[in-house]
């Protein structure tokens, strides 16, 4: 559907996102606490593995001077998780909206966009908690939230592109779902979230981990939040390139395929 249609339906997008948020933790005792408990439990696991099993020294933030592995982990993990959970939830969203697609004319991309928006709201809460943690450890993170927002805009574009592409493809091939589980794992371990790029002994591995599509934004996020420095212009350019390519490709494929959804579902 055209951009005009999407704008005319922005009310629907708002309400779908709200529905997504309101119904996510229904029938769960801890409710919204889960959205924080999940990254926190991973933080504990990976901290134990990093510090006490692999016996690594936490990376030193430059110029922040921080030497706290859990904070390093969360600075990379939160944006990565925002991306991966959004895509995972989006893949089935067109399929799940099949009844709606077959009965009502509306911009199908709203099914995907509403999920990303809801995840974005979750991420903001998580970042708020993380910022408090940084302050407790004596790092004045607040001014760095401005470049972080800029980075999040780019990450969101990247996420929407991948989510649109895979959710549309999943209508035709249901194995996209399983494929994504593997790809998400690969992306996680190829991004410097639970390790430090500079400590990798092989140059080609260092290159992959810092230049990959998720690795590059994970590095940028760590530099902004943990190190307290502006990422290099090259890094910004790389992240922007991935984001724009992803968004254009995803939107193009989705628009091509979406008129066929009502017949194929």
């Amino acid at each position: 559907m055209s951009l005009r249609t999407a704008v005319a339906h922005r009310n629907l997008l708002y309400l779908l996102s709200l529905k997504e948020l309101r119904t996510r933790y229904r029938k769960s005792v801890l409710g919204w606490a889960w959205s924080l408990l999940n990254p926190l439990s991973q933080m504990v696991i990976f901290t134990v593995v990093f510090l006490y099993i692999f016996l690594r020294e936490p990376p030193i933030g430059d110029p922040s001077g921080l030497e706290v592995f859990p904070l390093y982990f969360l600075a990379g993990m939160l944006p990565f998780q925002y991306f991966s959970i959004s895509v995972t939830a989006s893949i089935g969203s067109v399929q799940e909206g099949s009844n709606l697609i077959k009965k009502v004319a509306f911009p199908h991309e709203h099914l995907v966009l509403s999920i990303v928006i809801a995840q974005f709201a979750t991420l903001l809460i998580e970042l708020l908690v993380l910022s408090v943690a940084f302050l407790i450890f004596g790092h004045m993170v607040l001014p760095w939230l401005a470049p972080m927002m800029l980075l999040l805009v780019l990450i969101t574009m990247f996420t929407i592109g991948v989510a649109l592409l895979l959710s549309a493809a999943n209508v035709f091939f249901h194995d996209i779902n399983y494929l994504w589980t593997i790809v998400a794992q690969l992306l996680f371990y190829s991004s410097p979230i639970i390790f430090v790029t500079e400590e990798i002994p092989f140059a080609w591995l260092r290159l992959i981990t810092s230049l990959g599509p998720t690795g590059s934004f994970v590095r940028a996020s760590q530099e902004i939040l943990y190190d307290g420095q502006w990422p290099s212009i090259e890094r910004w350019a790389l992240v922007a390139m991935y984001s724009i390519t992803s968004l254009l490709a995803g939107a193009w494929v989705f628009n091509r395929l979406s008129p066929r959804f009502a017949e194929e579902l």
Binding site: R4, T5, A8, H9, N11, L12, Y14, L15, L16, L18, K19, R22, T23, R26, N99, L100, I101, K102, K103, V104, A105, F106, F173, H174, D175, P259, A262, E263
Partner: protein
């Protein structure tokens, strides 16, 4: 939005223009649903093309109420989905010059966990309403649904009647200039249906345009200015409801008769002239499950006939017989009949479930050796939902359900229809 489009100057006074529309579907012999299969099949799916609509053209002027009729599989629903912009035609174009709303399903997008209030906003947004519009009409919607007390409880606690009332209240308040409807006139209880009917009449009187797709010819007859009959994907007839429906019904019955043999057999002299369906002494095309219904068989004979046995066979439109009472079995055979008359077969508490039914009549001698008159499809009638909510099969036996067992909860899962996958689960 395309339905806010301004159209071309020729379209003045035209609400909807369907121009030479063709829609084909791919019918797959073998369909790859995984990449492995897709590659194994050489990267292509085998399919045949099925033409659901072929060169369909018509215009609907502003303010007209049009009924689109046709049997199942005729393409009328495909046409509606094309007009609603859900499906894209392969060839031809559909121009809509008015603000359109399409009601293919009531409560599309209702979420069971959300309150009635949230669902009103969500459903109205799905139908294309803006937030200020919804906010302005919210009170009207709630008042129409008569659910003021329950509007802040989740809709999963609603009964199916409440669910439908809320959904319909939203739909009718979307306030379009052009409304496309699919078979949803028959919802809710009688009072609510009456209310919906009034709303439709008001809608028409305000000069708005209505397109109704249905197989229920009586609502087209009562309600529309014009009828279009779609058959095998083409416009077969287009004109006044009375003419088109007569032609349609005749062809349908002929087709049925061609399959079943001739319409009328028998040697006379007695003939059945017509069959009426009555509720409270009023002739009806549609009755409800649970109604007290009288089938009135009119007959005439030029000479006296001794002990005639009348039988009535009620069958579904697909030809499955449901029941066949006869006056001999009921020990209700008069010694003689002559001239004109009628016999009433009264049924209390009708057990037929919603659907379309047809009546065949037969009159024979007492020994059934001599057939006076056999009339196929003397009458067809529709049954709407009444005091039973069963939908499968042909009749309800009005069963009572009683549970036993230590692990069976005494609480009943009371949940609004239609169900969602969330309803399933192992506890």
């Amino acid at each position: 939005m395309s339905w806010l489009g301004h159209g071309n100057p020729d379209d003045h006074g035209i609400a909807l223009r369907v121009d030479d529309v063709t829609k084909t579907f791919k019918v797959y012999d073998e369909r790859a649903t995984s990449l492995k299969q897709f590659i194994a099949m050489g990267g292509r799916n085998k399919y045949e093309e099925f033409e659901a609509l072929r060169n369909v053209s018509f215009e609907v002027p502003v303010g007209e109420a049009v009924g689109i009729i046709g049997h199942n599989g005729s393409g009328k629903s495909t046409l509606l989905k094309c007009m609603a912009k859900i499906l894209t035609p392969n060839a031809g174009s559909i121009t809509i010059n008015k603000r359109m709303a399409a009601l293919l399903e009531l409560g599309a997008g209702f979420h069971p966990e959300l309150s009635g209030r949230d669902n009103v906003f969500l459903n109205a947004a799905i139908l294309g309403m803006s937030r200020p519009d919804i906010a302005r009409r919210f009170d009207d919607i709630v008042a129409f649904s008569e659910l003021e007390r329950f509007i802040d409880t989740p809709v999963k606690t609603y009964s199916s009647g409440m669910y439908v009332r809320l959904a319909f209240a939203v739909a009718i308040n979307v306030d379009p200039d052009l409304l496309l409807i699919d078979e949803i006139l028959a919802v809710g209880d009688v009072t609510f249906q009456q209310k919906c009917m009034e709303k439709f009449v008001q809608f028409r009187n305000e000069g708005r345009t209505l397109v109704l797709v249905t197989h229920d010819t009586s609502s087209v007859r009562n309600f529309c200015d014009r009828a279009i009959w779609i058959d095998h994907g083409e416009v077969k007839a287009d004109g006044s409801p009375a003419d088109v429906i007569d032609e349609y019904t005749e062809t349908m019955l002929e087709a049925q008769a061609a399959a079943d043999g001739s319409m009328r057999r028998g040697d006379g002299p007695l003939r059945v002239t017509k069959v009426d369906v009555l509720v409270s002494d009023t002739r009806m095309d549609r009755v409800r499950t649970g109604d007290d219904v009288t089938f009135r068989v009119h007959f005439e004979t030029p000479e006296p006939v001794a002990n005639p046995v009348f039988s009535l066979s009620i069958a579904s439109l697909t030809g499955i017989p449901v029941t066949a009472p006869s006056s001999r079995d009921a020990r209700a055979v008069p010694v003689s009949v002559d001239g004109k008359g009628h016999v009433d077969i009264a049924v209390r508490d009708l057990s037929l479930i919603p659907g379309s039914y047809t009546i065949h009549t037969e009159v024979s001698g007492w020994s059934r050796q001599h057939l006076y008159d056999h009339l196929q499809h003397a009458r067809t009638f529709d049954v709407l939902a009444g005091d039973s909510s069963e939908i499968d099969g042909l009749v309800t036996l009005r069963p009572t359900w009683t549970w036993s067992g230590d692990g069976v909860s005494s609480e009943i899962y009371d949940r609004a229809l239609p169900p969602s996958p969330d309803d399933d689960g192992i506890t």
